[in-house]
């Protein structure tokens, strides 16, 4: 256990060195390492960031014959945001079943996004085949364990959780003990007035267990978050904009850029939903989130493609 800790710390220390020239610095807070983005915007104040999700590169079903085109349009929608988002969160299912070349194609496509940085968490489509090896090789830098991470920006604490590496048969997503313990340590030193943003792939709450739209141990994470005055949980996976408010916690599910899925229980199966051509682009899109320091609140604005 100690060796593991030491290895991780060294790994993160090396990342500190590697990133020093790219505008990021690591800071120890309360004994837990986290990263901070340098620059004027990193001081507390108003800022915006964006969420893109479920790009499913490689999808070629009839629900969207041109998923490459709608991805390009989604990137254009992100680039049209004013002010420019400080960074972008990709909440998983980068690829459609880890098809050959899909990760390369996605990386190439996302280069067109005008933002400082993109943070990622994986979806089950990105990791089921190889246990996350390719995903972590590409996006694991700066993360712990199976790809989870936290960082501070503008007075807000961001936490990326991975709930697809130990997908449970008959249930859905799962975080696992190691990640939950890390989360506990990550949150422990933070005051309850710190605004928290959690980003993950599968809904943390039991959104629709009959279709696996739930995280088996998500409630344990939610319980740790309840003491905070402002918690925003952003997820993907269900390919539709959906919101739930529970006290100080707000849960937002995001649209996909590739294909829509039916509302919970509205169809016999959760498969890609084929709609009339004119309706598709209203069901795909990206999300902008703005933080207002004076209120300590985050507001999500949906940007469908049509």
């Amino acid at each position: 256990m100690l060796n593991e800790r030491a290895r991780v710390d060294r790994r993160r220390f090396m990342q500190c060195l590697a990133w020093a020239g790219t505008g990021l610095v690591w800071a120890a807070r309360g004994g837990v390492l986290s990263s901070s983005v340098l620059g004027d915007a990193a001081a507390a104040g108003d800022f915006t960031f964006a969420q893109i999700s479920d790009t499913h590169v490689g999808f070629a079903g009839k629900a969207n014959p041109d998923a490459g085109g709608t991805l390009a349009d989604s990137i254009a929608a992100l680039n049209a945001l004013a002010p420019r988002p400080a960074f972008v969160l990709h909440t998983g299912d980068l690829t459609h079943g880890q098809k050959a070349g899909a990760f390369d194609l996605l990386a190439e496509s996302l280069k067109a996004i005008r933002t400082e940085r993109i943070f990622y968490v994986p979806g089950e489509h990105d990791v089921f085949l190889d246990g996350g090896a390719e995903y972590l090789a590409r996006y694991g830098r700066g993360t712990l364990g199976g790809g989870w991470q936290s960082f501070d920006y503008g007075g807000v604490h961001f936490i990326g959780l991975v709930n697809v590496l130990t997908y449970k048969a008959g249930v859905g997503g799962a975080l696992g003990r190691e990640q939950l313990e890390w989360l506990r340590q990550d949150l422990a030193p933070r005051g309850s007035s710190t605004p928290i943003v959690v980003f993950t792939h599968v809904p943390l709450w039991a959104l629709y267990p009959a279709w696996g739209w739930t995280t088996a141990d998500g409630e344990e994470a939610i319980a740790m978050l309840r003491r905070f005055g402002s918690v925003t949980v952003l997820n993907g996976h269900i390919h539709q904009a959906l919101q739930k408010i529970e006290g100080h916690l707000v849960f937002h599910s995001a649209r996909s850029t590739a294909f829509p899925q039916p509302a919970p229980g509205a169809a016999p199966t959760p498969g890609p939903m084929t709609v009339e051509a004119g309706a598709l682009r209203r069901l795909l899109g990206v999300r902008e989130v703005s933080y207002t320091e004076s209120s300590g609140r985050l507001a999500a604005v949906e940007h469908p493609l049509a």
Partner: protein, 108 residues
Amino acid sequence: MRANTWILMLASLLTLFVGGADAAPSGETRVAISQFTFRPAVVSVAAGDSVTWVNEDAEEHTVTATDRSYTSAGLEPAETFSHRFTAPGTYQYFCALHPHMTATVVVK
């Protein structure tokens, strides 16, 4: 009456023909993946036999052992995956993309 008899005869012939053409080779059992369900949900095979799954859905699915000891790649519509079961036991599997899809192979 007469027409019905003809239809019945035709249907019988078709069943024979299609059944014959479709029959799995000896020692192979087929499971359909259809409407986000493995059909049948439980199959029994003899040790050493193979099970072949065919994706009849329009969506991608996988055949993944619950203990992760084997998995198919993402199966596109009409694609198949086979796995040979060598030791007796009860083996649970699921779709790693749609975890509510679960089923069982019993090896005797």
